[in-house]
């Protein structure tokens, strides 16, 4: 278990990181980036898997199952959609070389 103050430092550092990496992004990438960060919080799948893994009652199994189902959808859908968007970005220079 992570102690309270270490978690606080984690929150702070991660928040700065999130702010930093996105602050110099050209507008053309806002939508893919929103979609990409949407994919990244699909990591919630891992948490839901642990919840389901720990389940000992039927209620917990149902909740865990729903959690895993939703989390997996977030991760898989987020990935496919972002990949499709980014696939289309290409430079005219490269095209000219073809």
């Amino acid at each position: 278990m992570i102690s309270g103050e270490i978690a606080l430092y984690l929150f702070m550092l991660a928040a700065f990181t999130g702010h930093e990496i996105i602050s110099r992004v050209p507008v053309i990438l806002h939508t893919p980036l929103m979609s990409g960060s949407n994919f990244v919080h699909g990591i919630v799948l891992v948490g839901a898997m642990i919840t389901l893994g720990e389940a000992t009652t039927l209620t917990q199994q149902v909740i865990g199952f729903v959690g895993v189902f939703l989390g997996a959808g977030n991760a898989a859908g987020g990935y496919v959609v972002t990949e499709r968007m980014l696939e289309m970005f290409k430079s005219s220079k490269k095209e000219g070389a073809k």
Binding site: V25, T31, L52, V68, F69, L86
Partner: protein, 483 residues
């Protein structure tokens, strides 16, 4: 070191690797050159973390020792849920049209929020009924509650946003005293959540979730379609935070880091978006476009039409052409034709640029995606701040399917509801051609002074048809025009 301890370290190392890959991935996604590899890096991180979780102590515990009879059932359920959900999301994500991308992001985001809420629900109910793996401290209960509240709002709110953008639901839904009712629901959710700090009780947990989920619906119902991008981005940040908080409850660093990074990045993105629309976030959430507000001044003059043939000769003589596409272009599916027209112009040695307003489309950057889909290289696409000074040196500006974002009253008329909104200075171009189906006003319902300007001509046609006619006329000048 025994096997369990070793496995523990391997799992933790995988989570660490995933967190690093996520951050590097998002970083790479912030430049067009490396963007594609960015999502792939993050994807590898996700895969590693997911596989590692099957070996997590609390998941695999009791396997082979017979201590926990549910273990095997739970793992099977896990595989089933992941399999079905991934298949659904993968296929729907592959099939969706680029114009419909925003609602898919909303849908997947809502699922993530729901998942975080489910983690919170399981932790709280487990602790309340004494069946949990571990008991929760006060800080953990507090964060489980906050995470569950935010996650629930993001879950049902995103689903409503999805339904609205998909056209399954009327754009707005309002009734008298709505804000009061919403406020009441929010306070009840907070109250029930606070009560859980003092008395963990299953009934209160259930009531808390019911109220929170309902609040997400109520909060999103009155928000209009034009504001949806900001709302989706906000819920994206919400889900990130919810994931981070539930990560703390579980003591899972990967969730804390990934969730917080997304929460912070998403908040910044939401603010950038709201700023580009000249709306504050609270304004988006608690009020509506066109609700009251002073009547804008009347615009003198008339709209002057132009024929495709004349428009084509203007283009033929121009040296520099800037194209300003709006969502109307995407709705008319005209982006491919517009790119074809641009190629015709480039072939005739004209400088062609696409000027994109930050909120063109349904999300910031959505227009860039739509143009990219049509094959427009991203280095021909310019942001508002870079391109605005260039309109003064441009011979012809073509506006297609854009309206409010080129309306000069945003700079001049203080009584206009869009006053202060950043706009593209199309009006500074020597000649403006507006391709538009009819004489109607834009999203905000405001007359556009650009359309009445002396240097502006209206080409009344559907986007695709107009582009087709311009291409044909251009080719006609080449062959028949004979100089």
């Amino acid at each position: 070191m025994d096997k369990t301890t070793l496995l523990h370290y391997v799992v933790q190392a995988s989570y660490f690797a995933a967190a690093v890959l996520f951050i590097l991935g998002i970083k790479r996604m912030s430049s067009p050159v490396t963007a594609r590899s960015g999502i792939q890096w993050a994807g590898v991180g996700m895969l590693v973390a997911t596989i590692a979780t099957f070996f997590h102590g609390n998941v695999a515990a009791g396997l082979g020792t017979g201590l926990q009879p549910q273990t095997m059932t739970n793992i099977l359920l896990m595989v089933l849920a992941i399999g079905v959900s991934t298949a659904f999301a993968w296929i729907s994500g592959k099939k969706v049209a680029m114009t419909d991308m925003p609602q898919m992001v909303a849908l997947y985001n809502g699922m993530g929020g729901g998942s975080a809420a489910a983690i919170g629900a399981a932790a709280l109910i487990g602790a309340a009924s004494g069946t949990a793996h571990h008991t929760l401290g006060t800080a953990q209960i507090a964060l489980a509650v906050i995470g569950a509240l935010i996650g629930s709002i993001s879950f049902t709110g995103s689903l409503i946003a999805f339904a609205k953008l998909q056209g399954w639901m009327d754009k707005t839904f309002r009734f008298g005293g709505q804000q009061f009712v919403n406020g009441l629901f929010f306070l009840s959710a907070l109250g029930l959540g606070a009560a859980l700090l003092f008395k963990l009780d299953v009934t209160i947990v259930v009531a808390f979730f019911a109220v929170s989920l309902l609040f997400g619906v109520l909060m999103t119902l009155p928000i209009g379609g034009a504001d949806m991008p900001v709302v989706i981005s906000l819920y994206n940040a919400f889900t990130g935070l919810a994931v981070a908080f539930e990560g703390y409850v579980q003591g899972n660093v990967a969730l804390i880091i990934a969730g917080t990074v997304v929460g912070a990045a998403g908040t910044l993105l939401t603010r950038l978006m709201a700023k580009a629309m000249n709306r504050s976030i609270s304004n988006v959430l608690f009020s509506n476009f066109g609700g009251g507000g002073g009547a804008a001044s009347e615009i003198a003059g008339s709209q002057k039409p132009i024929e495709a043939a004349d428009a084509a000769s203007l283009l033929y003589m121009a040296e520099k052409v800037i194209i300003v596409p709006g969502y109307g272009m995407a709705v008319a599916q005209a982006q491919h034709k517009i790119w074809e027209l641009s190629q015709q112009l480039i072939k005739r040695d004209k400088e062609v640029k696409f000027a994109i307003h930050p909120v063109a489309g349904r999300m910031p950057g959505h227009m860039n995606v739509l143009l990219a889909e049509a094959g427009v290289p991203y280095d021909l696409i310019a942001d508002m701040d870079d391109v605005n000074p260039e309109f003064a040196t441009c011979d012809v500006a073509i506006v297609i399917g854009a309206n409010d974002v080129v309306n000069p009253v945003a700079r001049t008329d203080k009584s206009s509801p869009i006053y202060g909104m950043p706009i593209l200075d199309v009006i500074n171009a020597r000649q403006v051609i507006v391709i538009k189906r009819g004489k109607g006003a834009g999203f905000a319902g405001i007359e556009n002074a650009l359309f009445y300007a002396d240097n502006c001509r209206m080409l009344y046609a559907d986007g695709q048809e107009a582009a087709n006619r311009l291409i044909a006329e251009l080719k006609g000048i080449d062959s028949g025009g004979g100089h």
